[in-house]
């Protein structure tokens, strides 16, 4: 029953490109660079349009219209904003720790970009489809935290330090829960490879096949994911009512923009991982578009629809809920999510062992 992932368009492209160009290793490297450029462009556009989407969605939640002046329906608004930020002077304190201050945003952005590379956007379309993909994402996203931490510390600002410390605290705590939620699904799938996990869901999404434990894991994953992407019920690291702007208080211009973009890309990654693990990735619901040809295109479409819905859910949270306090944040994690997650993973193990999952 299990279909193994045999085609990867990217590896095919690399092989084809290096053969045609015939420079041996050089051709391969050129192919990698081309793929990286495609991903960078995607990264920038996705970041910018997620910002646009956020502003638009927030506006409709708040009885407003949102940006609608620059370009049709305001679609050029965030691009204009990015151009403005590009042209701004990078202005910070002179007592900053220069090395840490400038390393911070690269760490954040690079971590986000690396995570993006393992996500399968469609059947066989993942730049770096390794067999430990889930683990890789968890590992790399922890590096991003380091960026926030040293950014807050390096900018020599008390609000920044508080924000950085809060982000460290929050991320380390919530990584545990999201890790457990991911493991629950890995128990079912028996694989850490993202494309493999998706292929296994052709018989039914894991949210459906794992019934109760998968549902609990999904809820935990969404909560922990919201916390990891620093969004509102958990936006303590930058909670503007308390800390001004938290860890990016002292950043301006592009420095700020990198943090801002990385935050939105992280939201995209969290949603993409959630979709991949629980909602069947690029698979069409009930296989309704399977016979229509062009499977990779339909894969794209379904993947982005699902990710969009997940992102919308996160935005809905953001524009509805108040912020938690720092001790409540830890209470929620250590007293609620973590024990429930642990019990849940045992429950899942038992169910899998006795073949009680669908």
């Amino acid at each position: 029953m299990i279909l193994t992932n045999t085609t990867n368009y990217f590896s095919q492209f690399i092989a084809y490109f290096s053969d045609t160009i015939g420079w041996g290793m050089g051709g391969q490297i050129l192919a990698y660079v081309l793929i990286a450029i495609v991903y960078l462009i995607f990264f920038a556009l996705a970041g910018l349009y997620l910002v646009y989407l956020e502003r638009r969605v927030a506006a409709f939640f708040q009885l407003r219209l949102g940006p609608n002046r620059v370009g049709p329906w305001g679609l050029m608004q965030t691009i204009a904003d990015a151009l403005k930020l590009l042209s701004k002077e990078i202005f910070g304190t002179d007592r900053k720790d220069k090395l840490l201050y400038h390393t911070a945003y690269y760490l954040v952005i690079v971590a986000a970009l690396i995570s993006l590379s393992v996500i399968p956007f469609s059947n066989g379309i993942a730049a770096y489809d390794i067999n430990i993909g889930v683990f890789f994402i968890s590992a790399v996203s922890s590096v991003g935290i380091l960026g926030l931490l040293i950014g807050g510390w390096g900018s020599n600002n008390k609000y920044g330090v508080l924000g950085g410390m809060r982000s460290g605290l929050q991320m380390i705590s919530y990584e545990l829960s999201s890790g457990l939620a991911i493991l629950t699904i890995v128990l079912m799938a028996g694989s850490l490879q993202l494309s493999e996990i998706i292929h296994q869901q052709q018989a039914g999404w894991f949210l459906w096949r794992g019934h109760i434990p998968a549902l609990i894991a999904f809820v935990i994953f969404v909560i922990a994911g919201t916390a990891e992407s620093n969004r509102t019920p958990f936006d303590l690291p930058e909670g503007e009512a308390e800390l001004g702007a938290g860890y990016h208080t002292e950043y301006s211009g592009m420095g700020f923009a990198w943090f801002f973009l990385a935050e939105f890309i992280n939201m995209f990654i969290i949603s993409a991982v959630g979709v991949t693990l629980f909602l069947g990735g690029w698979l069409a619901p009930f296989g309704i578009t399977d016979g229509l040809g062009m499977p990779w295109l339909w894969g794209f479409i379904w993947f982005f629809i699902k990710v969009g819905l997940m992102i919308f859910l996160l935005m809905w949270f953001r524009w509805t809920f108040p912020r938690l306090r720092i001790d409540q944040l830890l209470t929620l994690e250590w007293k609620y999510l973590l024990p429930i997650g642990l019990v849940n993973i045992i429950l899942m193990a038992v169910l899998v062992y006795y073949h009680l999952v669908f």
């Binding site: 509102t232 009512a241 524009w319 509805t320 809920f321 720092i326």
Partner: protein, 374 residues
């Protein structure tokens, strides 16, 4: 080499200072709080005032009595009508003018509308301070209706300068009664939605309950008034203790909560909006028709003496104290602003709280900085 043995008592964390304000997203204005922090814990709060001091009390000494009123708009701009009314009442009390019944009723209705508008704005900002940004726009949608009513009658949306000694500036607009009658059921229908959105929310409840406890004793000794004191169970509503304008003719309750925490102060304001609606409902149907201005001289001179008038603004007990030496401008004017005294309680109850709690507490205090600083 000497061996160094650390024990936990030696490893003291260092206390540090944070300037919260004068420019801070959560400070409702230019209030600067010098916080002594131990990690996330606020150890001491020292407010630093004076960033928006305009010496309004001194300016009043150089203005005629009619002209003082427009300055009081700029104290607590969210309850500007009540401030105007307080000065007008003080002058009327000194000159022993009997104002027409219509004026009394209009002033009371306007005052309660202003109170609702102020509480609505507070609710929106309260939500923002604890992180729920959407409440702001919902509250502003409903507050806008009051602002439109005000604009139609008074010609201004916020700083109305509507009361004058002996009367009011304009007569009511013909649409006024209808629009107020439309507004009352609207607000009654939206406040339950507010409750569902924010009050019932588990996160909000956890942020508010048992946080920022102010005992009744402290509230009295620190001079707290208004919803802050009533949240601690101190009965202090000037509208009940000495009813002014048309308030003696209406029936309403004083909202008292005994808990003294953030949630109690929050609930007092939410319930007060219903009471204000109740007051307006009783008055709006039969506004007497006996003129909008009592006969006063063109140049008002108060007799020699000292005059005090206290009213209940949206933030608490607002007092106007005028010392007159018989000239056309006062010898000394003192405003007792509720926000200043309520700031004292923040210094007391904000200690040993987390930074996030301090924000929530100061949000339930409902500060308007120009009112504190004058």
């Amino acid at each position: 080499m000497e061996q160094v043995i650390y024990n936990s008592a030696d490893l003291k964390s260092q206390e540090y200072f944070i300037n919260m304000g004068p420019q801070h997203p959560a400070a409702h204005g230019v209030l600067r709080l010098i916080l002594t922090m131990d990690g996330e814990m606020v150890k001491n709060i020292e407010p630093d005032l004076g960033y928006i001091h305009r010496s309004i009390e001194k300016q009043c000494e150089h203005e005629g009595y009619k002209q003082i009123i427009h300055l009081t708009d700029r104290l607590d701009y969210l309850s500007s009508h009540m401030n105007n009314e307080a000065v007008a009442l003080a002058i009327e009390q000194a000159m022993q003018i009997e104002v027409p019944e219509r004026v009394k009723v209009i002033r009371t209705i306007m005052g309660e509308l202003t109170r609702i508008a102020s509480h609505l704005l507070w609710w929106g900002v309260m939500g923002m301070d604890v992180g729920a940004l959407t409440t702001f726009m919902y509250a502003f949608r409903d507050r806008e209706m009051i602002n439109d009513i005000m604009e139609e009658t008074c010609g201004a949306r916020l700083t109305m300068s509507y009361s004058t000694p002996g009367g009011v500036m304009f007569d009511l607009h013909p649409n006024f009664v209808n629009r107020v009658k439309e507004f009352i059921p609207h607000l009654r229908s939206v406040i339950p939605k507010y409750d569902e959105l924010l009050t019932g929310n588990i996160i909000f409840q956890k942020r508010m309950k048992n946080v920022g406890f102010l005992s009744a004793q402290d509230a009295i000794s620190l001079g707290a008034s208004g919803p802050v004191a009533r949240g601690s169970g101190v009965s202090c509503d000037r509208r009940i203790i000495e009813p002014y304008s048309a308030l003696s003719k209406v029936d309403f309750k004083e909202i008292l909560y005994q808990e003294g925490d953030n949630l109690a102060r929050y609930n007092v304001r939410m319930k007060e909006m219903y009471e204000s609606l109740h007051i307006i409902e009783q008055l709006i149907d039969n506004i007497p028709d006996d003129g909008i201005q009592a006969k006063t001289k063109a140049l008002i001179k108060l007799p020699k003496g000292e005059f005090l008038q206290r009213v209940e603004t949206a933030r608490g007990d607002f007092g106007v104290y005028i010392v007159s030496d018989g000239k056309k401008n006062p010898y000394r004017v003192k405003f007792r602003s509720p926000g200043f005294s309520n700031l004292n309680t923040l210094m007391e109850i904000g200690k040993n709280q987390l930074l996030g709690d301090l924000i929530a507490i100061s949000a339930t205090m409902d500060f308007v900085i120009p009112d504190i600083d004058r």
